[in-house]
């Protein structure tokens, strides 16, 4: 079924290429719209819900008492208010950082080893399911990342500076690709992340299922691969710079509708 759709879509693309370049990008957008129904992220959502409610880890406990910012066990609406400051850890945390906290404190896992586990392996796979389901529980809601605590404000300022930080052999910063509207790399449109780029775009589009690799990517993995392509050294999983960037992008996206878990190329 899918092969036929791909063949048809490619035929549409090559036919379109003879006209203007814009129709090549349009044809791909149509292909993606066709695929949007039947997003394999659904499979990860189902797994995530099971993992939230399943007794796991050395303490044989479920995650149902995990506080994602709106109180223990409250999942609906939590995703669109992250990252935020948490009293129990005394720091600003994004979703994945908070899951590390809960998996360690409630279930007895070692969060440091989970952070060191490569993407797609071990408990990182658990996190893929969890972020798919937790984000789905806020689907259609609008981002409202808080800026009330001093540390939340500080993270915004540091996130902004990190966003514009040019370095590495290519002199790239996040802003090199995401600092202006209407640009693209090859045929991949780039959202402008210094402001709200719109509903379901940019910050509002992750976690997402990446069709090209058949993988579920959370925001941490997305940032990790951004830094790889910027030719930077390796950002630690849930490290300070990743949280600060999440605050910067999340606050900028205030009001945008979340479509996570989304479908990407």
């Amino acid at each position: 079924m899918r092969k036929l759709c791909i063949v048809l879509a490619l035929a549409a693309i090559s036919a379109g290429a003879l006209a203007q370049d814009k129709s090549a990008a349009d044809a791909i957008a149509e292909y993606r719209a066709m695929l949007a129904d039947g997003n394999p992220a659904d499979l990860f959502e189902a797994k995530g819900e099971d993992l939230w409610k399943k007794k796991r880890g050395p303490k044989n406990a479920t995650l149902e008492q995990c506080d994602l910012g709106k109180g223990p066990g409250v999942v609906k609406g939590a995703f669109v208010e992250l990252p935020r400051w948490f009293a129990d850890t005394g720091k600003v945390q994004d979703l994945e950082s908070r899951l590390l906290t809960c998996m360690e404190n409630i279930q007895g896992f070692n969060s440091k080893s989970i952070a060191e586990t490569p993407f797609g392996q071990g408990e990182q796979v658990t996190i893929e399911g969890l972020v798919a389901w937790i984000s789905a529980e806020s689907k259609g809601m609008h981002f409202n990342v808080p800026q009330t605590h001093a540390q939340e404000k500080m993270n915004y300022e540091l996130g902004k500076r990190a966003f514009f930080y040019r370095a590495g052999p290519y002199d790239f910063s996040c802003a090199s690709c995401h600092g202006q509207a209407g640009k693209r790399i090859r045929l991949q449109d780039l959202p402008e992340l210094t402001k709200n780029p719109g509903d379901g775009v940019g910050f509002a589009a992750w976690p997402a299922y990446r069709l090209s690799s058949g993988e579920m990517w959370g925001m941490q993995r997305r940032l990790n691969d951004c830094y790889r392509q910027q030719r930077f050294p390796y950002p630690g999983y849930a490290s300070d710079v990743t949280i600060a960037l999440g605050v910067y992008m999340g606050v900028n996206a205030k009001g945008a509708e979340s479509v996570a878990p989304a479908l990407k190329r």
Binding site: A17, D21, A24, M154, E157, L158, K160, R161, A162, F164, Y165, R166, A167, G168, P169, Y170, D171, F172, S173, A175, S176, C177, G179, Q180, G182, K183, R184, I185, R186, L187, L190, T194, R228, Q229, R231, F232, P233, Y234, P235, G236, S239, D240, V241, T242, A244
Partner: protein, 215 residues
Amino acid sequence: MQKIKALALAMAATVVAGCASLTPGPDYDALLKKMMDDSFRSEGIATKDRLVQDAANEACSKAQGENPPDEIVAAIQQAALKSVRMPSDGKFTGDWREGEKLAQNGRGMTWSDKTALPKDNGGNCLNCHQVTKEEVSYGTIGPSLYHYGKDRGVQDPESMESRPIVEYTWTKIYNSKSYNACSGMPRFGHGGLLDEMQMKHLMALILDPKSPVNQ
């Protein structure tokens, strides 16, 4: 006695309040530096020293999308111009066919690449630029290079007649910051990303009248 004490306290409070407003905000430069240092580690060829910013990157980062002050822009551009090494044999172009392969190649310099040698790097050109008419999968971060040589009237890139535009083009590829302090384009020659021969192939791709770019 009470009155004097109250007055003294009021004066103390005023002084303290005055001090509070004079206290500077957080030292974001220092906090940023610490955050970057704490957050990254070396991986493969992408070592942690890549976080160190030179004067150009530091100034352009602080400007956050705007231009740095004029004197700084001038200084960056002058230093960049000084860094440019013209081709060792005086010949500026190579083979546009090789240039096209390089332009299509987006690999190189990431932590998942095996070496940092120019021979293993691509030009990454199509990520940001249109190059030929045929290749529709091009980026729009940089201007279109289609008809680059043709539009500039280049009939023989090795002629003295074309020397000014050819030298300009070479300089741009070697160190883009020579003409634009905060250019988004990597510094292919200065950064050791591509070697002289590779850059000549790219020159041919956009300047050779026979190249598909100029058809």
